[in-house]
């Protein structure tokens, strides 16, 4: 062994190491970022505007109070109002074209749970939770954005805050969400 410079002190080794680290970290950051950005919607629906003109959430997402899913509005629902609105811009023209042809708008749901989580809106609405508790302040959003940190601990946190210790025993039961 001629060289007296230890392995870890060689610059080439250090550069390669740094690069590998960078790629791994970058991949992780990119992956996380990718899951956090809102997906591309067929029409960049401006939630803030519709709330601004006084639309209730349940006007379009009708199922929340009565069932597991809040649901996404049909073209009919959009067309009901938009028929009377002049298609001033491209997006409105898109709505008009969907409406006129009676085609469905392929909305991409944003607030979804993995398949092993059973979530029902109904009990949460009955417990008088508001929509923005989980879906964020939509007056500030155009398209719906996924909310950060909605993991199991977040669910449990809220269940604990909203209940007495005895109730929490029941509300933290696995079968509340998983079966």
């Amino acid at each position: 062994m001629k060289s007296s410079i230890p392995l870890w002190q060689r610059s080439s080794v250090r550069i390669v190491g740094a690069l590998v680290l960078l790629i791994i970290m970058g991949g992780a950051v990119g992956g996380i970022y990718y899951t956090q950005i809102p997906p591309e919607q067929p029409i960049p629906f401006p939630h803030n505007f519709h709330i601004g003109v006084g639309a209730q959430c349940s006007y379009c997402h009708t199922g929340a109070a009565t069932g597991p899913n809040a649901g996404l509005p049909t073209t009919d629902k959009c067309w009901g109002c938009h028929q009377q609105i002049e298609p001033r811009n491209d997006n409105l023209k898109l709505v008009a074209s969907y409406g006129a042809e009676g085609k469905q708008i392929p909305w991409v749901p944003v607030a979804i749970q993995p398949d092993f989580v059973v979530f029902s809106h109904q009990p949460h609405i009955n417990a008088e939770l508001t929509c923005e508790t989980c879906h964020g302040d939509l007056t500030q959003m155009t398209v719906a954005e996924p909310q950060k940190g909605q993991n199991m601990g977040w669910c449990l946190d809220c269940h604990q805050k909203m209940s007495t210790p005895e109730e929490f025993v029941l509300l933290s039961d696995c079968a509340t969400c998983h079966y």
């Binding site: 993995p114 398949d115 092993f116 059973v118 029902s120 109904q122 009990p123 009955n126 417990a127 209940s163 007495t164 005895e166 109730e167 025993v169 029941l170 509300l171 039961d173 696995c174 079968a175 509340t176 998983h178 079966y179």
Partner: protein
Amino acid sequence: MTELLAKEAHDEKWGMVIDLDICSGCQACVTACSMENNIPFVGEDEMAYGRGMQWMRIRRYWEGEYPEVTPDYQPMLCQQCGSAPCEPVCPVFATLHSEVEKINLQVYNRCIGTRYCANNCPYHARTFNWFDYEIPAPMNSYLNPDVTVRRRGVMEKCTFCVQRIVKGRQQASAEGREIEDGDITPACAQACPTDAITFGNLSDPESRVSKMVRSDRAYKELENLGTEPRVTYLKGGKSYGG
């Protein structure tokens, strides 16, 4: 709302009674369970090697010698033991007792697949996903959206159709009433052509199951192990009543 929840939870203790005198052994419950709970079919070779995924199996022994020979049927499913051998051995709490329904839960997404619970179940009621079983499209269309489709490497077993229990409770609570006897029926009891399976709340002394459990024909499988099964069998056979 929360009051109702707490009250109900204290009142729930689901149990099943299977009357072996009228159980004909026809296997309709087995099919019903499989169709309700997204149980995959595994094919001939795997079945031959004891890897069938049926949550419910009908044990058939033969009694007597020809010509007095007769089969002895006993539907075997997870007994939802009150003191379940499977629970303490799971290293990650993937199987545990539920506080609300008082049944054994199997949390698929927590399971890491040690299969210890299955070894420790004296009823052999647990099945393991040896592979990712494919249900060829479009046959996957009939999968029940209320029940998780399990992937390879996790344990599964009868859940007393917990999805139906939860739905029934939510329905009752939405209607502002308590769950009534007979509101909730698991798929097996619903299908059973001779109504040999009865399901209900054991903590209600007036429920049908509670009455049947007090029958002098009632027994529990491997009771001496102290597992406190929630499934009660009513003795049948030709000696009874005839």
